[in-house]
Amino acid sequence: MWGLGFVLLLGLAFSVSEYLARQWMPRTQTGFEIGAPFQLTDHTGQIVTEEIFTGRASAVFFGFTHCPEICPTTLNDLANARQALAEGREKLQIVFITLDPERDTVEVLKDFIPYFGEQVTGITGKPENVLELARDWGIFWERIQTSGGGYTLDHTATVFLLNEQGRMTGTIDIAEPPDVVEAKLKKLVTRL
């Protein structure tokens, strides 16, 4: 009898403490889980894993270097918006993941990535592994043959905003003006 009462009391105390903890503890988990673990190569030839997304905030963009327009425009816009942040700039990185790993080798990204400023990382690797990562992120891409014999890609041009735990807290749409982009990045780094 006493034993049962003790167990019940213990259970009740545990529930109450858990409830209070959830009420009073700061919420550390915001955002949504996105992607999956991976092991690929960055533009300097170093191994890169999903850990790149933890420790600081990230703006993640999928593209390809044979892209004349939207990829350099987006990377420039992000780099400029990052540069325009009054503070917290160092808490934000830009990550570019190729959707064209066959052409975008480490050598190609080595030239391409540093052009867009500091704290920009390019990710490539074995085509099947890179494209698996893109699928894990829910990215759309499709090869389009051009009249000259080459090809280009139609692809998701959304920028994913991740907090320092690597959880997605928002996106940037390609149509959004620079002041909105800047405001979103500011919010992302000040929340940390």
Partner: protein, 204 residues
């Protein structure tokens, strides 16, 4: 055919007769010079008169996107204003730094950016301005043989139907376009300049 050649023969005979006139004979070297000058002037001025610009095509903000080293592609932008009295269609472009060039448009469809060639050319109707701008229509230059560095200037040739070919300078810039940041910084810059100017005036 025969009659025509005969008439030409008769005419030339007449001209010869006419040229035999002493005054004309005396003026012949002068007339020859004058004729040569006329031909020269016609040759000199004809291309200018026939150019698309004088026919009523106006080009503004011709820019090329600066590229990272070894980048395979770049984009070109400009504003085309047509007052030629008829539709002018931009059918092709070429530049000394690229093997191929195409005219592209883009469509933004639920987060996906789709880019495609405007195969029949970009039609600019009379009394309209068409802008090729970042995040939209652009000239795509492929197989670049060099890096396009900021502040370089390249001649790009555009072909319009019916008015013909136009070659104009394109300015290489890192942030092409007039919309968004670029436009804002531009206007801010101008305002700043005006302000400075006013202050300068006050001090006098």
């Amino acid at each position: 055919m025969i009659s025509r050649s005969t008439s030409v023969w008769v005419l030339s005979k007449r001209v010869k007769k006419y040229m035999a006139n002493p005054i004309i004979l005396y003026l012949r070297p002068f007339l020859q010079c004058l004729a040569a000058l006329a031909v020269f002037l016609v040759l000199l001025t004809r291309p200018a008169f026939a150019s698309c610009q004088t026919e009523g095509l106006k080009f503004d903000h011709a820019q090329l996107r600066a590229t990272p080293p070894n980048a395979p592609v770049s984009a070109g932008y400009l504003q085309i204003t047509n007052t030629t009295g008829q539709t002018q269609t931009l059918v092709s472009a070429s530049a000394p730094f690229a093997k191929r060039a195409q005219i592209h448009d883009m469509k933004h469809d639920s987060g996906v950016m789709k880019m495609y060639e405007i195969e029949r050319g970009l039609a600019v109707q009379d009394r309209l301005t068409v802008a090729l701008m970042p995040k939209g229509r652009h000239l795509m230059f492929m197989d670049l043989d060099r890096q396009l560095k900021e502040d370089d200037i390249f001649s790009v040739t555009l072909e319009f139907v019916p008015c013909g070919r136009v070659t104009l300078p394109f300015h290489v810039t890192r942030l092409p376009g007039l919309v968004h940041t670029q436009g804002e910084t531009h206007t801010k810059g101008h305002k700043q300049k005006d302000h400075d100017h006013k202050q300068h005036d006050h001090s006098h």
